[in-house]
């Protein structure tokens, strides 16, 4: 059922994910995807994202606190956690790790159409060369057999960025080293004055 939906991600949500991965280039990172499904359920809108961790991703306590706070905050705005983003530690690692799948499973319990996004490092590296407008990440959803399947490998566009020029904006931010400013939940737990909402990031 998840494989039938269309997933649209807003530019800022998309850019935050990549900037976060670039900031912590030598570790795995993850993020929560925030949004809503359409009334008929045929599409999911990813409106925002919250970068989570860049260390010890397999540990529960920080994750539980983060998800609770995120749900509280966005719940008031009528949004919920609709997916999970993961970037592997090594640039040549294309596998969906068990940690990613487990967290994805958890999110699916509350939002069955949950999207699991995996950073595509090769695509990211190639970005400056081409005029690729598609997102530099792979989309996985849970199919009827309850396992995570790669969506769109047959060429169909199931994941799209809302704003067509998002990759150009992303490249601009990368060259200005904007990734230095991004804050994740790990940073917040180390220093609570750091704002994981990144409200000033795109000002």
């Amino acid at each position: 059922m998840g494989g039938e939906s269309l997933y649209e991600i807003h530019q800022n949500a998309y850019i935050k994910l990549v900037l976060h991965a670039l900031k912590h280039g030598t570790s795995a990172v993850n993020a929560a995807l925030i949004g809503r499904s359409s009334s008929a359920g045929e599409s999911v809108e990813i409106v925002d994202s919250v970068p989570l961790f860049h260390s010890q991703i397999g540990l529960l306590p920080p994750l539980e606190i983060a998800l609770m706070m995120i749900e509280e905050y966005y719940g008031e705005k009528g949004l919920s956690i609709v997916g999970y983003f993961h970037a592997n530690e090594r640039s040549d690692d294309f596998e969906l790790s068990s940690v990613a799948k487990n967290i994805g499973d958890h999110i699916t319990r509350y939002f069955p159409q949950a999207a699991l996004l995996l950073l595509e490092n090769k695509k990211l590296e190639a970005l400056p060369e081409g005029m690729d407008r598609s997102p530099v990440m792979q989309l996985y959803t849970k199919d009827a057999s309850r396992s995570w399947k790669l969506v769109g490998s047959d060429g169909s566009n199931k994941l799209a960025i809302k704003e067509p020029s998002a990759n150009i904006v992303l490249l601009d931010y990368i060259s200005s080293e904007k990734w230095k400013d991004i804050i994740d939940f790990d940073d917040h737990l180390d220093d609570i004055s750091k704002n994981w909402l990144n409200s000033e990031l795109f000002q």
Partner: protein, 258 residues
């Protein structure tokens, strides 16, 4: 320092190297920033000046690593080990290479072998623990942190990490232990450690859920949790005021009040 070196004319650097200054740092910095042509130049200069040096030998092997020539690097390290069987740096490079090639089980094997000899290498124990966590092998990770706490009992980082692993493992005994180690972390850090304070709240809530309030002598335990919640509330009020209500509702959902 690394960036400084990469903008200075090459000839000056080579001159400095020829006079034996900053032997290790510049080549490694060049490799770290993928300036392999510069790294090769540096290593060449060092080879000429110190032909039999073990350190230069390690740099040569490191350069092979940086170039992704794994087999050659492996050969280089093996031959270096023949004369330097107990060189910890070379042993650890092997682990790093395994990890870089995605051979995580190999990295674990090498790291365990290394720790049999160098059991006082705390960084290595931590590295091993982190690898285990990334593979969700929590029991094995717990063992590593136990070793670390045994040898360095006053380092709060190890108490916290151990508590996190225990909580993740779950089950009533582990949750009680986790709570103890969150508490000792708070103790060792003067009472303001955000992660440990949250940890106390989480573990108390999880224990309550599992025992469904059947455990009557947990009054002292719930006191600890409410103290932690209060401490968090105070800290958020001071340093993250716009998140105070968020904290309050989060703690409420854990059945604790700040």
């Amino acid at each position: 320092m690394a960036f400084q070196s990469l903008t200075t004319p090459k000839s000056d650097l080579l001159l400095a190297l020829k006079n034996g200054l900053c032997m290790n740092k510049w080549p490694v910095a060049a490799m770290d920033t993928q300036r392999l042509d510069m790294a090769k130049d540096y290593v060449k200069v060092l080879q000429e000046k110190f032909p039999e040096s073990k350190r230069v030998g390690r740099l040569e092997a490191l350069l092979l690593e940086a170039m992704g020539l794994w087999e050659e690097a492996e050969k280089a390290y093996s031959s270096l080990l023949e004369d330097n069987e107990l060189d910890p740096v070379i042993h650890k490079r092997r682990v790093a290479m395994a990890k870089a090639q995605g051979n995580i089980s190999g990295a674990i094997e090498w790291l365990n072998k290394y720790l049999e000899i160098f059991m006082a290498d705390h960084d290595a124990w931590r590295e091993l623990a982190e690898i285990y966590v990334s593979l969700q092998m929590y029991k094995q990770a717990a063992f590593c942190y136990e070793e670390l706490i045994l040898s360095q009992p006053t380092i709060p980082l190890y108490h916290l990490a151990y508590a996190d692993v225990l909580y993740t493992l779950g089950g009533i005994e582990n949750l009680h232990m986790a709570k103890k180690y969150y508490a000792s972390t708070i103790d060792l850090t003067g009472g303001k450690h955000t992660r440990a304070l949250f940890g106390v709240c989480l573990s108390t809530s999880a224990i309550d859920q599992l025992t469904k309030g059947r455990n009557k002598d947990d009054k002292e335990n719930s006191q600890l949790a409410s103290l932690s919640a209060t401490a968090l509330g105070k800290d958020y009020k001071q340093r993250a005021p716009n998140k105070v209500s968020l904290l309050a509702s989060t703690l409420r959902s854990l059945k604790l009040s700040s």
